[in-house]
Amino acid sequence: MTFRIGPRTSQIIAYIFLLTLTVIAVFILIFIIAFIFKNGFSQLTIGFLTQKTHEMGKEGGILPSIIGTLLVSFLAIIIATPLGVGSAIYLSEYTKAGPIRRLISFGADCLAGVPSILFGLFGFIFFVTILKLGWCIFSGGLTLALMILPTIIRTSEEAIKAVPKSYREISYSLGGGKLDTILKVTLPTAIPGILTGVVLGIGRAVGETAATIFTTGASLNIPTSIFSSSRTLAVHFYMLAREGISMPKAYGTATVLIILILVINFVAYRLMHRFMARYY
């Protein structure tokens, strides 16, 4: 007698197996967030968010780091997005499929996997030292822009390639030129995909330590311009925890960092849905 699994049983097994995998993945995420919130939520006071940092972080708030993080990430995004989307348009619309395009795509994929500390080192040598920008928010923004550029290029390229060829043909057949077609048909259709790449980029930029420690520095003063040195939240968290300055403040900082990323993602997806509602 042979033992055989019927189609109904195999369906149930597959369902339970996949459900388990999903539960594990979601549970890990929830566990990390819950752990940090449990330890850090009590630190979240108005003072913590709005005061200067004192005694290397043992006392006071984290306002300088919040400002520093927002500025560095904002600079990185406004530099990397036009560059990345522009390159993606060029690659997908103006070059023919072939070995050179594959090589560029492969290069971008490799670049996306380069450890951030190497970008930090490059930023330190090139922006901080050779261009004499010094440790500042601008250097950090430029370095992070380079770091997230490959991600934005590749996701935008895929999003643009996913726009059906027939849309372009319709535009051409109505007398549209190449640029009309890209600006009025292809890009609006690809925006949700492009925005996904930008959101991924923001996430990496906001949480980055290695690349910013080398380029933005670790100053605890409130930045007065993009040429001030600053310390991002992630770096501040690293310093507080690593130097054993104050674990409660470290968890508080981590909580703010996580909330910041959640808020940015939430806003980005809201924008995306608003946009989709208008176009589809």
């Binding site: 023919k96 059906p164 027939s166 849309y167 043909e169 319709i170 535009s171 051409y172 057949s173 109505l174 007398g175 549209g176 030129g177 009309d180 009025k184 048909v185 609006p188 259709t189 176009y279 589809y280």
Partner: protein, 248 residues
């Protein structure tokens, strides 16, 4: 009969495959020219050659196409495509509202006031027999329309460019008989003002609407004549074999 479009010694190649062999064909003003023939006979390649919209990047053309006696190579592409509209087999609506779909083309070519655009939208939707069905949904997404409505929207979108010739590539192949009848009656009601080239796999449709019919087979034009002649007493045996359903 005025000759609107004249095709002389047209050859089309895709890589090493010849899609059209030495085609000579005149299209008269204000007629519906039906183009029939089995798959891969070169019907779509003909339309794409006229609109300079090749299927592949390595398509190559030889020969001349004259629009009102003027070689189309001398016309800017956007003007050529405005004057000769092309409607594809599968209705493809652009993302966005019905209104936006129609105004997309005109806005590319000229500046219009809002009032002019409103009037144009009303006019072309009426002409395409679609106004009554969509007049309350002008600003809804065009992709919510049914397939037949989408195809008539595509016709309206092409009409909005005020073309001289409208080419259709199997416009009813994905539609049900009622939608097909609506598209056909749209065509017939417009035929006094526009010249149509209708590529169709449906020989009965060609018989219903065409003034003249051209039969293509294996990249060649077998014969072209008045529709009654083609369907009752064709000059070539291959034509009678095809329309009587012996092959294809």
């Amino acid at each position: 009969m005025d000759i609107k479009l004249s095709i002389k010694n047209l050859n089309v190649f895709h890589k090493n495959i010849q899609a059209l062999k030495n085609i000579n064909l005149d299209v008269h003003a204000d007629e519906i020219l039906g183009v029939i023939g089995p798959a891969n006979s070169g019907k779509s390649s003909l339309l794409r050659a006229i609109n300079q919209l090749p299927e592949t990047d390595d398509a190559r053309y030889e020969g001349e196409i004259l629009l009102d006696g003027k070689n189309i190579d001398t016309l800017p592409l956007n003007e050529l495509r405005r004057r000769i509209g092309l409607i594809f087999a599968a209705p493809v609506v652009l993302p966005g509202s019905v209104y936006k779909n129609i105004t997309y083309g005109p806005k590319l070519h000229n500046r219009h006031t809002r009032a002019e655009l409103n009037e144009l939208v009303h006019f072309v939707l009426n002409a395409a027999n679609l106004w009554d069905e969509v007049k309350d949904r002008l600003f809804d997404s065009a992709s919510n329309l049914s397939g037949g409505q989408q195809q008539r929207l595509c016709i309206a979108r092409t009409l909005a460019l005020q073309p001289e010739i409208i080419m259709m590539d199997e416009p009813c192949s994905g539609l049900d008989p009622i939608s097909t009848a609506k598209v056909e009656s749209t065509m017939l009601s417009l035929k006094d003002k526009y010249t149509f080239i209708l590529v169709t796999n449906n020989t009965k449709q060609a018989a219903r609407v065409s003034t003249r019919v051209a039969f293509f087979l294996s990249a060649e034009l077998v014969e072209i004549d008045r529709a009654e002649k083609i369907f009752t007493n064709p000059g070539d045996k291959r034509t009678s074999d095809y329309i009587s359903g012996r092959f294809g």
